[in-house]
């Protein structure tokens, strides 16, 4: 495989890169990335999980919300290298082997989804909220989701969905990011950047998943 000729010809090929390792949706993940890369770009472009979205790139909309060590954060504002050693949960990791996560179910039940672009971010904010407080009151729900903009729904059905999922009584509701906890395998591939990715010890291109377009 190797580096394709048409990549990064604008700069020196030995661009500064950092090796990091983190747990992503319960899978140990290793990547080598430039320092300028945001966590969102790492997840979307290097790992290839497209569920987290870029709505603004400056932390003003929440569409990029992921969970890092149990906390909801704007992945467009986090330096990618800071994912090192963290437990990261993205929308792709919410679903379980046995089916949808309870909040995914309530969102469907209560019609909280229209265009769907803000949905992953809102689900992640909700999951992080309920992890910290399984029985939030209305104010706290509002506070937790106020960093996620939605232009379609007006938030009301989203609110009903979250209320319907609380109080959370079942511990298995929360993903712990435990590596033992197997989750659905997702497509991974390295995208247009020249960053490389190592997943579970296999090198990019070495028969480790669909979609590597070399």
């Amino acid at each position: 495989m190797g580096q394709s000729v048409n990549r990064r010809v604008t700069k020196k090929m030995d661009q500064k890169k950092v090796d990091i390792q983190f747990t992503l949706n319960a899978q140990k993940t290793s990547v080598r990335i430039p320092v300028e890369m945001t966590a969102l770009q790492v997840i979307r472009d290097v790992v290839g999980f497209k569920g987290s979205k870029e709505g603004c790139g400056i932390g003003e909309c929440g569409a990029c919300t992921i969970e890092v060590d149990g906390k909801a954060i704007n992945s467009c504002l986090m330096c990618g290298v800071q994912l090192d050693g963290r437990e990261v949960l993205t929308i792709e990791g919410l679903e379980r082997e046995e089916g949808l996560h309870p909040i995914q179910e309530t969102f469907l039940e209560h019609h909280a989804v229209q265009c769907g672009f803000c949905t992953p971010g809102i689900l992640m904010s909700t999951h992080a909220l309920l992890k910290e407080n399984p029985a939030p009151d209305d104010e706290e729900i509002r506070d937790a989701v106020s960093g996620n903009l939605c232009r379609c729904t007006g938030y009301q059905q989203i609110f009903s969905s979250i209320k319907a999922a609380t109080p959370v009584k079942d511990d298995s509701f929360f993903h712990t990011g435990d590596a033992e906890n197997t989750l659905k395998k997702s497509q991974v591939f390295a995208d247009e950047t020249s960053s490389s990715m190592v997943l579970n010890g296999t090198k990019k291109g070495e028969n480790n998943g669909e979609g590597c377009h070399d």
Partner: protein, 756 residues
């Protein structure tokens, strides 16, 4: 709300929602492509200038840059426009705003593209800049377009307003202003494309109208229809701005020349700079009423700033003129609305097409008249509300489905209660509570023009049904409700209605997802197609079951005798029979609302076949010390004819209200100053009121199962209701949107609340 149907009228799980809660839908920024080139538009550095030269020689030499295109590279007609074609894809002889694209860069990486953009040198010869429509209309003003700075003027004249005003008991004459608004859909404009094995240019686009995109790209490239395929990708909202070509032309051009995969994704900043905006309006309105509160005359002069290009400006001006009376019967009418070119970002379709702006005026006028006459705001609306038999400003008699008064009656108990109890209790000595009403009407479909929809339904040999529609679902849920309509007629669960949506290779045009038209128009087209299919099935079933057609029913993939359900035959049996005998199981449906074009001077005609109506009540708390306004509750009664999917309707109402809260209080797009989401505010969860939605169903016989529409109606009454509520709270009125901190505090000070 009674519902006699099995599938229609039920809030089933939306098609596509499951994928969305998993984060699975593929938006154009997500689409997997093989080393796609990054496309970036180089935009004008001048507001208004002649384009003397573009020097791309340095840019093309930059490593990683594959091509730089200018107008000379456009093989077809370099003009686009959804109504009139006045907008070049790439600037030819001049630029008319800072958003105008002058060149298109195709590069291997975003970094190379950025370097190329900086290396392009453009020589301009400045022309006088015009930002204000009044200036643009002044004699001797520099011409932005050769044909002049007036895009259009829509006039409506009925009766004799001058005479009627002389007899009026009270006259209110005021000026209202609204600002430009940015759609702020969560997904920035995006598209991606590649060349298929057979040479077809395939463009995936975040769009509201794939078939229009197709026509426009074919025209730009000067190729045959088959050469281009537009696929509507997962689309993260549009609200009118994804009706114009944002990225599709760029992608088509690059594919045409380079024949390799490309992607064009706007940053939020570029979306703010370059995509269309809501037209800002200046509205002079004069309304007269008799002593009993009956409106007798209305005169309106409105000017909207359409920016550098026309886009939907003609539609906005038309709609504003037609809707200017509000949902009220007024005998004498003199309306004029002009759309004017200026050197700002072009304005186009934005949820409501001028109706939300005009509603600020007509609803404020109603409250002012009520106050002058000593009548309460609800009563004056009841007195004048349009109903069956009313005649509109364009001389159209409303023969059906005019549920405005029903909406007022639905809101009435909440209104009384709010006035009698809520408003009187003060949460703090500095908070003033107010309650306000907003009424609206909204014509479904495009104004006085043909805007048909088509659809196709097919059954295969096994009895499986597929519905083909060009109707773009941008989150409002059209795919679901169209499957419900087909499902209801066929007796099939919507899960068993396979949908092929928004792919110009397979679907035919459903018209744009705009003007709240898809439920009514595409719904009817789907109904038409499905009825035809069912007719064929029933005819064959009669043959088999030996029972009169009128006794036959459909359910669960069978046709059966309604009097004796065991007597039945399956779809698959019927399908095979029909096909073996050379029959047809593929049926095209069509619907075009019955309209009559408006007379160019008097505006007389039938602009729409049906209208939605609504009334909203807003409860607000005004902080008299700081100018902050909190909308506590909105009760929203909407006559939608028939709610095919009630929760979808509620979703539209809540979403529209959110947009209305933003329009009323915090959204103000200032071209040249508003750059990103840091300086443009749409409501967050904490800014939302509690919404009590009330669905009113005044059946529209010409609608599918009686349905009309709700997408835009949801937003139109909100800002007027809030402004009326603020006025009620303070005793001082605001005539300009947004009712910002500054304006509300000023009103509070003027009203004497500040120094208490």
């Amino acid at each position: 709300m009674k519902n006699e149907y099995k599938i229609v009228g039920k809030s089933i799980r939306r098609k596509g929602a499951l994928e969305k809660v998993k984060g699975a839908p593929v938006f154009c920024a997500d689409l997997k492509l093989d080393h796609p080139l990054c496309l970036r538009a180089v935009r004008s550095q001048r507001h208004h200038a002649l384009l003397k030269n573009i020097d791309v020689s340095k840019a093309v030499k930059i490593p990683g840059v594959v091509a730089v295109f200018t107008a000379a590279d456009i093989p077809g007609i370099n003009l686009m426009g959804i109504i009139n074609k006045d907008q070049p894809l790439l600037a030819m002889d001049k630029v008319r705003s800072m958003a105008d694209p002058v060149a298109l860069v195709a590069a291997q990486t975003p970094e190379a593209a950025a370097l190329a953009m900086s290396a392009i040198t453009v020589t301009y010869e400045d022309l006088p800049m015009i930002f204000d429509p009044e200036e643009a209309l002044a004699p001797g003003a520099a011409l932005i377009h050769k044909k002049g700075n007036l895009l259009c003027k829509r006039t409506i004249q009925k009766g004799d307003v001058d005479k009627a005003f002389k007899k009026a008991h009270v006259i209110i004459e005021k000026t209202y202003r609204t600002s430009a608004i940015e759609h702020t859909y969560l997904e920035p404009d995006a598209g991606a494309g590649y060349v298929d094995d057979d040479g077809t240019l395939v463009i995936h686009a975040s769009t509201q109208n794939p078939h229009y995109d197709h026509k426009e790209v074919v025209s730009l490239l000067g190729v045959t229809d088959e050469k281009v395929r537009i696929i509507q990708a997962a689309t993260g909202g549009g609200f009118g701005s994804k009706l114009d070509l944002n990225v599709q032309g760029f992608i088509g051009l690059a594919l045409y020349h380079l024949k390799r995969p490309v992607r064009c994704v706007f940053s939020r900043e570029e979306s703010y700079l370059a995509s269309s905006k809501r037209h800002p309006f200046v509205i002079h309105m004069k309304t007269g009423a008799d002593a009993q509160g009956r409106l007798v005359a209305i005169k309106m002069r409105a000017v909207c700033n359409t920016g550098a290009y026309g886009s939907y400006g003609i539609a906005v001006a038309s709609r504003a003129a037609v809707h200017g009376t509000g949902p009220y019967e007024i005998e004498h009418v003199d309306m004029a609305c002009s759309a004017v070119y200026t050197n700002t970002t072009f304005c186009g379709a934005m949820r409501g097409f001028g109706a939300p702006q005009i509603a600020l005026a007509h609803e404020s006028q109603m409250d002012l008249l009520a106050q002058a006459l000593g009548i309460d705001p609800l009563s004056i609306r009841l007195i004048n509300g349009l109903k069956k038999g009313s005649i509109t400003a364009t001389g159209q008699t409303l023969t059906e489905s005019a549920g405005f008064n029903a909406c007022l009656e639905a809101v009435n108990p909440y209104y009384k209660d709010a006035l009698e109890t809520w408003v009187l209790s003060e949460p703090s000595p500095f908070i003033k509570r107010g309650v306000g009403l907003g009424g609206m009407w909204y014509g479904i479909g495009n104004t006085g023009v043909q805007n048909p929809s088509t659809a196709k339904i097919e059954m295969d040999r096994t009895g499986r049904v597929t519905l083909f529609t060009g109707c773009a679902d941008i989150g409002q849920g059209s795919t679901t409700i169209l499957s419900q309509i087909a499902g209801e007629i066929l007796g099939l669960s919507p899960d068993d209605v396979e949908m092929v949506v928004g792919d110009t290779k397979y679907t035919t045009s459903a018209g744009a997802t705009s003007a709240s038209r898809q439920t009514y128009i595409s719904g009817n087209a789907v109904k038409d197609a499905t009825d035809k299919l069912v007719n064929v099935l029933l005819t064959q079933a009669v043959n088999r079951l030996k029972v009169k057609k009128s006794y036959l029913k459909l359910s669960n993939g069978t046709v059966y005798d309604g009097r004796n359900p065991d007597k039945k035959v399956t779809f698959s049996w019927l399908a095979q029979r029909i096909l073996d005998r050379g029959g047809a199981l593929s049926w095209q449906g069509y619907f075009d609302p019955e309209t009559v074009p408006l007379d160019l001077e008097t505006g007389e005609g039938v602009p729409y076949a049906t209208y939605a109506f609504a009334c909203q009540m807003a409860c607000v708390e005004v902080d008299t010390l700081t100018g902050e306004v909190l909308v506590k509750k909105i009760v929203a009664a909407h006559d939608v004819g028939k709610a095919i999917h009630p929760e979808n309707v509620i979703g539209q109402i809540c979403g529209g209200i959110a947009m209305g809260v933003g329009f009323a209080l915090m959204e103000d797009f200032v071209p040249g100053k508003t750059e990103s989401m840091k300086d443009y505010h749409i409501p967050t969860f904490k800014d939302m009121p509690e919404v009590i939605p009330i669905i009113v169903e005044d059946t529209e016989p010409s609608g599918p199962f009686g349905a009309k529409g709700v997408g835009e109606p949801a937003l139109i009454p909100t800002a007027p209701a809030i402004v009326n509520a603020i006025s009620h709270a303070l005793g001082e009125r605001i005539y300009q949107l947004p009712a910002s901190l500054e304006r509300v505090l000023e009103a509070s000070i003027t009203a004497g609340h500040f120094n208490k």
